[in-house]
């Protein structure tokens, strides 16, 4: 892990209580979809883990919702302000295998770029066509995933669920990538009335693998409804965000797992709903 200073390029309200934050740093960034960064907000004790929506050559795009004092303080920070992010060193274990006997872990080569925390999605496991299912701000990490899938030549369809029309975000950004986007709203104001599972039933997209991020009940319904391999991004209150405080452990089919370090992305079979 490492701490890195980022500068706020923009911090804009893009939907109801929802902000889009673009941060730049000195040096290359190479974050995979499903990973997160842990932001220190001045005046607040613990960092805020926020999943990465896009990885820029020297920065990140994040979406966050104002739900409490910490995120309200973050929303008030103007462009030019600096934030300290906990990230992972882009430590490529295949290129630089760890030596268990070494006395000191050197910093990885600078040109590998800064990585995010946690495990990412596995776009390479999709054979031909992927279905991305987002609930609310769960849409955010699916944007980077869509970019990765398209770069691998896979077809991508997105189904995004929101409570109401003014909460919709990332629809246009995904469409700009050429991804067909289907919307479900609980109040029926846009797209299919109901849940993402209702929209999937209506649209009947072809896919061999699905990826989902959103509220737990929504992901549970998605995993129950879809008969295909799938990956789930879990959310939990975190302490350290980096795997050593065991504050975010959940029980899974393969035993206790830390959401921050072993996840946040898990195979759907792992999750004990």
């Amino acid at each position: 892990m490492q701490k890195r200073i980022f500068k706020i390029e923009c911090n804009d309200l893009v939907a109801r209580d929802t902000f889009r934050l673009v941060l730049r740093t000195d040096g290359p960034v190479a974050i995979r979809s499903g990973q997160f960064v842990d932001i220190a907000i001045p005046g607040y004790y613990l960092r805020r883990p926020i999943s990465v929506s896009d990885s820029l050559p020297d920065g990140v795009v994040l979406y966050y919702k104002v739900v409490g004092e910490g995120t309200r303080a973050l929303a008030a920070m103007p462009p030019g302000s600096v934030l300290e992010l906990l990230c992972s060193s882009a430590y490529d274990r295949e290129a630089f295998p760890p030596d268990p006997l070494r006395r000191f872990a050197p910093n990885p080569p600078a040109d590998t770029g800064l990585a995010g925390l946690g495990s990412g999605f596995h776009p390479e496991k999709c054979r031909e066509a992927a279905l991305l299912l987002g609930g609310g701000l769960g849409a955010a990490p699916l944007y980077l995933l869509a970019r990765e899938l398209l770069a691998l030549g896979r077809q991508v369809t997105a189904v995004l669920g929101f409570n109401r029309a003014d909460e919709i975000c990332l629809e246009q950004e995904l469409r700009a990538l050429g991804v067909p986007v289907h919307i479900a709203t609980l109040d029926g104001s846009v797209g299919t009335k109901g849940f993402v599972t209702d929209a999937v039933a209506a649209v009947k997209p072809a896919f061999d693998r699905f990826y989902t991020c959103g509220p737990l009940p929504m992901m549970k319904a998605v995993c129950a409804a879809l008969d295909a391999p799938g990956e789930v991004s879990l959310e939990e209150r975190m302490g350290c965000g980096a795997g050593f405080c065991y504050g975010c452990t959940v029980q899974t089919a393969s035993g206790p797992r830390r959401v921050c370090a072993d996840g946040p992305v898990f195979d759907k079979e792992e999750v004990l709903w």
């Binding site: 004790y45 960092r47 906990l86 006997l101 209150r237 795997g243 050593f244 405080c245 504050g247 206790p256």
Partner: protein, 305 residues
């Protein structure tokens, strides 16, 4: 600047400096081996261990507070056998400082069993017996809030190990000195204090506790004055050394704890907001010592009467 001597001696064990990550805030050390040179740390107190593996408490286990946090991890750990056969030996291979096993239990017999297993593990240098975990029922803190039961645990573990035994005490008591003295009389080599304070937060939107287990251990800079007061009281009432713990976040706090009587100083919650807190504190100490006219940390231990 004159070369500064950061070393301290804890029951005959040399520590290159007094900075020790506190149990539960640093995993088994291995989790941070890629992040820092562990060998800059005077010692490492490992995650609290019970006889059997434990999942711990349900989530949420973490709640933020002003100048601190509440945790209710509930002693998630892989069990004593994993500690002595896997975790501690693996850390020994990459770390040359003092390795502290933090031992928990649900009965006097379990404490003794776990300490006997840790005693037989050459990778472990010192035993820290946790009679103060606020997050488990029927164990932990129940043994550390009364002088007789704290002494009973101390006596039982003393009988099964020749390694230095520190008893980690709870601040959730009315008379910390009587409990520390009972441990000393029962054969403890040292006292670690304080563990966390029992605390609680409520999510006012959901109208329910943030922590799934309702309450948890409160720690962070907010508790530092209370921890310092207890370190001062115990260090001046007992002849055995004290490891000071509670709200330590900066090199200044380390010096203050030592002046109050701590021989070594543990850093806890701060690791969770800054995983590099311990190496940063170690790095900051020489310049601070220079400002304060301190050449050797040994000379300031308990200097405040």
């Amino acid at each position: 600047m004159v070369a500064k001597d950061l070393s301290v001696s804890l029951c005959g064990l040399p520590l290159k400096n007094p900075v020790v990550p506190a149990s539960g805030t640093f995993g088994f050390g291995l989790e941070l081996a890629d992040t820092m040179d562990l060998n800059v740390l005077g010692g490492i107190s490992l995650k609290g261990t019970t006889r059997e593996a434990r999942f711990g408490n349900p989530t949420p286990r973490i709640a933020e507070c002003t100048a601190g946090m509440i945790n209710s991890v509930g002693l998630q750990n892989p069990g004593i056998e994993a500690l002595v056969t896997d975790k501690a030996p693996a850390l020994r291979r990459i770390y040359d400082g003092v390795i502290i096993a933090n031992i928990s239990g649900y009965s006097v017999e379990e404490y003794a069993f776990n300490c006997a297993r840790a005693d037989a593990c050459p990778a472990i240098d010192l035993l820290e017996v946790n009679v103060s975990c606020p997050n488990v029922h029927g164990g932990g803190m129940a043994f550390g809030t009364d002088p007789q039961s704290a002494a009973a645990v101390t006596q039982a573990v003393r009988a099964v190990t020749r390694k230095p035994v520190f008893i980690k005490l709870s601040p959730n008591v009315t008379d910390i000195v009587s409990i520390a003295r009972a441990c000393e009389d029962a054969g403890a080599d040292g006292i670690t204090l304080i563990n966390t304070l029992l605390g609680m937060r409520i999510d006012i939107r959901k109208r329910k506790p943030i922590i799934a287990n309702k309450m948890g251990g409160f720690s962070g800079p907010a508790v530092f004055p209370l921890a310092l007061r207890m370190v001062y009281q115990v260090a001046h009432a007992c002849a055995i050394p004290v490891m000071g713990c509670g709200g330590v976040a900066r090199a200044e706090d380390v010096i203050e704890m030592m002046m109050a009587g701590a021989t070594a100083v543990q850093v806890g919650a701060e690791n969770l907001r800054n995983p590099l807190a311990c190496p940063e504190i170690v790095q900051a100490l020489p310049a601070l010592m220079d400002q304060l006219g301190i050449n050797s940390l040994q000379e300031i231990i308990g200097i405040v009467q």
